[in-house]
């Protein structure tokens, strides 16, 4: 079974992604010069981006990971409330925090996370996303660092999944509609 067979087109080649991550790394390093930054990543999709981005930073870096439940994850969650599945391991009180996302579409999860993290009293809170899909935005949130603005298509790869698969693809591609239609 080759997962790439399920991809209709490659949206971002591996080399494009790596070049963009390096560029973001330079910008972030310049902006945080003289400061220590705490990268907070949201599992699971942002994991590859986080791993690549942190190695492009030249400033002192701490990392932390969070995971939040997603709507529709289970039948009970559909009538529940978003919850933190994995909370921060360390305090971010007084720290400069950079929230690292794989993709921002509706902004609903990000809106929730920002409110949650602001309640932890960081010295600053900025947002970095590899992919931005503004066509789907419900909650307008200023994003400090955007890798790529992408069209309104269902994408997988480089951490992004469909049904928990395709995260390990080294590129970002558009999933064939027949894959999820079936």
């Amino acid at each position: 079974m080759d997962l790439t067979d399920d991809v209709a087109e490659t949206l971002l080649e591996e080399a494009q992604i790596q070049a963009k991550v390096a560029e973001l790394g330079r910008r972030i390093s310049a902006d945080y010069a003289g400061h220590e930054v705490t990268l907070v990543s949201v599992l699971k999709g942002a994991l590859p981006f986080m791993a690549d981005l942190m190695r492009q930073l030249t400033v002192p870096v701490r990392i932390d990971l969070m995971e939040v439940s997603s709507y529709g994850g289970t039948a009970t969650e559909s009538s529940g409330l978003v919850r933190i599945i994995k909370d921060l391991s360390s305090s971010i009180d007084g720290r400069d925090v950079l929230l690292v996302e794989d993709i921002i579409d509706t902004g609903l999860t990000l809106n929730y996370l920002i409110r949650y993290l602001r309640g932890k009293n960081p010295a600053s809170l900025r947002i970095c996303t590899l992919l931005d899909k503004p066509a789907r935005r419900l909650v307008e949130i200023p994003v400090d660092y955007v890798g790529f603005t992408i069209p309104d298509q269902f994408v997988v790869g480089y951490g992004l999944d469909y049904n928990e698969l395709y995260r390990n693809l080294r590129f970002v591609g558009v999933l064939r509609p027949e894959v999820y239609a079936s």
Binding site: S70, S78, L108, L138, V139, E140
Partner: protein
């Protein structure tokens, strides 16, 4: 009901005109985004006598985000009509921020949350529901229930305000009249 109802507490929802609206309300609830259902009516067309002939009632208002959301899963012919009304709304009320979610947008949202089958089930007029209190409401040719009759446009808003299921009467109603429009497209009904 408390405004801070927690998980597990019953969340009262208004009688939605379409099951897709109920689904969107559940999503907003899930992500703790406050919403109001049809709290404001925007007149968009008047007769020469000043009577409101046509209006637009966005499905949701998200007060903390100051944005309206209109959701449609209807077929393209009705979407064109809605697009026209939306353009008119934007001309007359340029300060109003509104997001129109088409059937495709709703489908993609459901795909994101692993509920594609639900999107298919609610597409078109299939998801239309007739709220108990509106059984006598006028209906369009497609069978869609009109949410407000022309008389309601005069000012008595009856939207619902929610935060995690909290329900209060909204105090808002018809927006002020900015201009007199042509009457040739009058339908005397809001969407």
């Amino acid at each position: 009901m408390s405004a801070t109802a927690g998980p597990g507490e019953e969340r009262r929802h208004p009688a939605f005109a379409h099951a897709s609206e109920a689904e969107l309300a559940r999503i907003l609830d899930f992500y703790d985004v406050r919403w109001e259902y049809e709290p404001h009516v925007f007149p968009i067309l008047w007769s020469l006598d000043g009577d409101v002939l046509e209006s637009f009632t966005p499905d949701f208002f998200l007060p903390d985000l100051d944005i309206y959301v209109e959701l449609t899963t209807l077929r393209q012919r009705l979407v064109r009509k809605k697009n026209r009304k939306l353009r008119r709304l934007r001309e007359l009320y340029p300060y109003v921020r509104i997001k129109l979610l088409y059937a495709r947008d709703f489908r993609m949202l459901m795909l994101k949350y692993g509920k594609l089958a639900l999107a298919d089930a609610l597409s078109g007029t299939v998801g239309q529901v007739v709220p108990a209190g509106r059984a006598g409401s006028p209906a369009t040719k497609s069978g869609a229930v009109l949410r407000e009759d022309a008389g309601a446009l005069a000012g008595s808003g009856s939207g619902s305000r929610h935060r995690r299921g909290d329900r209060q009467k909204a105090s808002t109603g018809t927006a002020s009249r900015p201009a007199v429009g042509a009457a040739d497209e009058a339908t005397a009904a809001s969407e």
